[in-house]
Symmetry: C2
Subunit: 224 residues, 2 copies
């Protein structure tokens, strides 16, 4: 399945970038190889200088697109959640039964990216690795309130809210729909991380997916 990038164009505060990286070839190369490089060496070790070297461009050119690497991380993670939101809406749209809809939503959110998933210049496998390993760092900062006010996390928040609404649609009496939605989304990332690095702290493995675990949870908690 191929999408056009425009189809899921994310409406995110343009404060995130100085110049739209989708508007030029260089911009796209920055995003493409930035994702690969962060996946490879980790966000802490990632620098614009190294990225410049990687794409045979110049540090100073990258700074014309993004103020700093933190904003770059916010940009690519926002892109990811916008993409997930698109998948979520697409996959659940035609389902009329509220519980089946919720189940499908969790499936979409928790399922790992397919091996060959790549459209445009974005490698979704690398990007989803980055989400698991680095997403928390985009908001665990002293500037979070300011950036939240500037709309940096609106796409992510919208996604959590969609899930919350689906939970409430199934059972309006369940008292913690927002917490459950955020637990599922953040918890999925955490379970993936544990499966990769702390196997004793999770039941998820090659045969048991976070999907099963959270669907079972939702069934017990909100199914009527």
């Amino acid at each position: 399945m191929k999408y056009l990038l425009q189809d899921i164009r994310i409406s995110v505060s343009d404060k995130i970038y100085l110049k739209d990286p989708e508007s030029t070839e260089l911009g796209k190369r920055i995003v493409e190889h930035g994702i690969l490089l962060i996946d490879k060496i980790g966000f802490e070790n990632f620098t614009f200088r190294k990225l410049g070297h990687e794409i045979k461009s110049n540090e100073s050119s990258i700074y014309r697109y993004f103020e700093n690497k933190h904003k770059f991380l916010v940009y690519i993670t926002t892109w990811y959640w916008g993409w997930k939101e698109y998948q979520l809406v697409f996959a659940t749209n035609s389902i009329s039964d509220n519980y089946k809809k919720l189940e499908k939503a969790i499936e979409v959110i928790t399922k790992p990216v397919e091996e060959d998933a790549e459209f445009g210049h974005i490698n979704e496998i690398s990007l989803s690795n980055i989400i698991i390993n680095e997403f928390s760092k985009s908001f665990l900062t002293k500037e979070v309130d300011e950036e939240n006010q500037d709309g940096y996390f609106s796409v992510y928040k919208r996604l959590v809210n969609r899930l919350k609404d689906m939970i409430t649609a199934v059972n309006a009496e369940y008292p913690y729909p927002s917490s459950l939605a955020s637990t599922i989304i953040e918890g999925t990332l955490h379970q993936h991380f544990l499966r990769d690095h702390f196997v004793s702290l999770t039941d998820c493995n090659a045969s048991v997916t976070p999907s099963e675990y959270f669907i079972h949870m939702v069934e017990s908690l909100v199914k009527k």
Copy 2:
């Protein structure tokens, strides 16, 4: 309630520090003011130079205790989980009913630190803020597997396992006890963070605690 530090002395790989900070006055001042400074300015902005200035000591002296600030973070977070483990064991020890024991365990894990909690030189309020905002950064690194092997996270893992065992004791048929235990512990931190910065993504607030949310979850999932 006052404890002696020795009582909950954490048995953690001595690879975390170069010189035991509990063994000297300077070491204790490093830990004490390091915690306060990280709470104040955030881990990213924290440096040994700034800490040295704060305690009117020298950068180079701090380096004799900790190789770098990452290891310092691992040290203080390990201390925190060791302290929580102590509280957990102490509070649940005398309870014979398995479900009540589990409930109490969750209470201990999820309840915020009391205002005046401080023993020795450690300010637990600041430390628990650090756990909420910075703990993830201690393991979301490229070195996690290596450090895990070196025992850096053993205290934390032991705590998650204790909770898992309590879950299993209540209901041996529940299929995801490890995942649930890790979800509760990590999820508590996340819900606290959301309450402070993303109120729309959680149901926790001044009157609803993460404790209630997770106890309700456990009740539905594992209570027989």
